[in-house]
C-alpha cells in the first residue's frame, strides 16, 4: 500500500509520459491558475477542465483505478477546506465551487505526478533556480521516504510477531514505541547520511 502512496509515477510508454517534464509542469501550473481564477459559478468551464484532464488521463494509459485511488487519498484535504465555507452565507454554493475547483487542481497534480518522474521534476526545479536548499531537502525527503517506510514495515512486523494479546491499550503502547524508535533511528541515519555526504566532498 505504501508504495502506491509514495510512488505515484507509473511507467507507461504513452505520449503523455514522453512529453518534456517542463512542458507538463508548466501546463499543470497554468491549468491550476486558470481553474483557481475562474468565477464561482463557471460550471461549463469546470466541465471543460474535467474533460481535458480525463482525455489526458485516457491518453496516459494509466489504470483509472490507480488514479482514482490517489485522488481519493488527497481528497480529504480539499473536503476539509471546502467544509469551512459551509459556515458562510450562501455556503452550499461556495462549498460546491470550492470542492470542484480543488478536486480539479488535485486531479491535475495527480496526473502530473503519475506521468512524470520525481527526479525529472526535481531537475526542473533546479533548472528554474528554485533555492537549492529547498530542492535538496525535497530530493532527500523523497529518497528516504522509502527507506523509512520499509523500516517502519519491518518494525511493525517484528512487533506483531511477538504480540500475543489483542487489547487496544497495548497496541497503542507498542505503536508509540515504534514511532519513538523510528525517530531515534531517523536522527541517527541523518547523521550517517551527512557523514557520507561530507566524505564525498560536500561543503568542504
Amino acid at each position: 500500500m505504501h508504495r502506491a502512496l509514495l510512488e505515484p509515477y507509473q511507467h507507461r510508454r504513452s505520449a503523455i509520459h514522453r512529453l518534456p517534464a517542463g512542458l507538463k509542469a508548466g501546463g499543470a501550473l497554468a491549468f491550476v491558475l486558470v481553474i483557481a481564477l475562474l468565477p464561482r459559478a463557471s460550471w461549463t468551464a469546470y466541465g471543460a477542465g474535467a474533460g481535458v484532464l480525463l482525455l489526458l488521463a485516457g491518453l496516459s494509459r494509466i489504470r483509472p483505478r490507480a488514479l482514482a485511488l490517489r485522488l481519493l487519498l488527497v481528497e480529504p484535504f480539499a473536503l476539509g477546506v471546502a467544509l469551512l465555507s459551509l459556515l458562510q452565507q450562501d455556503g452550499l454554493r461556495i462549498f460546491a465551487a470550492t470542492l470542484t475547483k480543488s478536486t480539479l487542481c488535485l486531479f491535475c497534480m495527480v496526473l502530473l505526478s503519475s506521468t512524470t518522474r520525481f527526479s525529472a521534476l526535481l531537475r526542473l526545479l533546479w533548472r528554474i533556480r528554485v533555492p537549492s536548499l529547498l530542492v535538496t531537502t525535497l530530493a532527500l525527503m523523497h529518497r528516504y521516504l522509502f527507506v523509512l517506510a520499509d523500516e517502519t514495515a519491518c518494525m511493525v512486523r517484528a512487533r506483531r510477531s511477538r504480540t500475543f494479546t489483542q487489547d487496544r491499550a497495548s497496541a497503542w503502547r507498542s505503536s508509540a514505541s515504534v514511532i519513538a524508535q523510528l525517530f531515534v533511528r531517523s536522527s541517527e541515519r541523518a547523521e550517517r547520511i551527512y557523514a557520507a555526504m561530507c566524505a564525498r566532498g560536500w561543503k568542504t
Binding site: 527526479s119 550517517r192 566524505a199
Partner: protein, 248 residues
Amino acid sequence: MNALEVRHLGYHYPDGTTALRDVTFAVAEGERVGLIGPNGAGKSTLLLHLNGLLPEHPAAVPTIHVFGTAVAEPQLAAIRARVGLLFQDPDDQIFCPTVWEDVAFGPLQLGLHGAGLATRVERALEQVGLGGFDERLPHHLSRGEKRRVCLAGLLACEARLLALDEPTSDLDPRGRRELKGLLEALPVAQVIATHDLELVVELCPRVIVLDRGGVVAQGPTAELLADEQLMLAHGLERPHILRHRHPH
C-alpha cells in the same frame, strides 16, 4: 611514498569512552590490507578518521597522512577526493534521486561539469558493471547493486585509497563474488574492514587485528589467521579456507 600512514592515533567518544588507542600502521600504494576484529573493536571509527570525518575537533598534531598529506584543514577537501569511504549501509551512502546523480555527486563537488562529468560517471558505472542504470531509482535496486552504485560513486572521484566498511555484509554469494572480483581488479590501495575472513584471505596479503581500540597484531594474513589462539582471543576464528590449505 605510502598511501596511508597512521601514527599513534587515539580517539575518545564524546562520553569519554576510549574508541581508539595508539593505533599505528601504514598501507603502501596499491596494497590491500584487511582490518579485522570483533564488534566494537573500533574498525568503523578508524575508517571515519581516514578522510577526516573524525575527530570532531582536529588534533594539534596530525596523526594520519594520506599520500604524504596530513588529514587536517585546509587540505580536507583534497583528502576527501583521494580517500573513498564505503559505508556499511548503502542506504546511508546513496542519497540522490537517481543512480546517475548519485555517482555524479562526488565529481560535481570536485568541480566537474558537462561532458567531463558525464564521461566520468559513465566510466565508473561501466567499471562496476552497471552500465545503463543511469535513470534507475535507488530504492528499486538490490542490495548488491546498491553496493556497486556506492563503489561507482567513489571510483568517479578517482579515489586512490579506498576505505571499505563491511563491503560484503548481507550480500548473497553472487553479489559477494562480483564485489570481490571488482575489488581485486582495482589498482588502488584498499583498507577492508570486515568480518568476512575468507574475503581477507582471498584479497589481502596483509592483515591488521584490532581489538578494544588497539592494534593487537599485524602481519601476513595466512600466518596471523592460522594462529588459532590469537583468533579466539579476539573474537575471531581461523577461516575454513585455511584449514584446506596445505602448510607446505
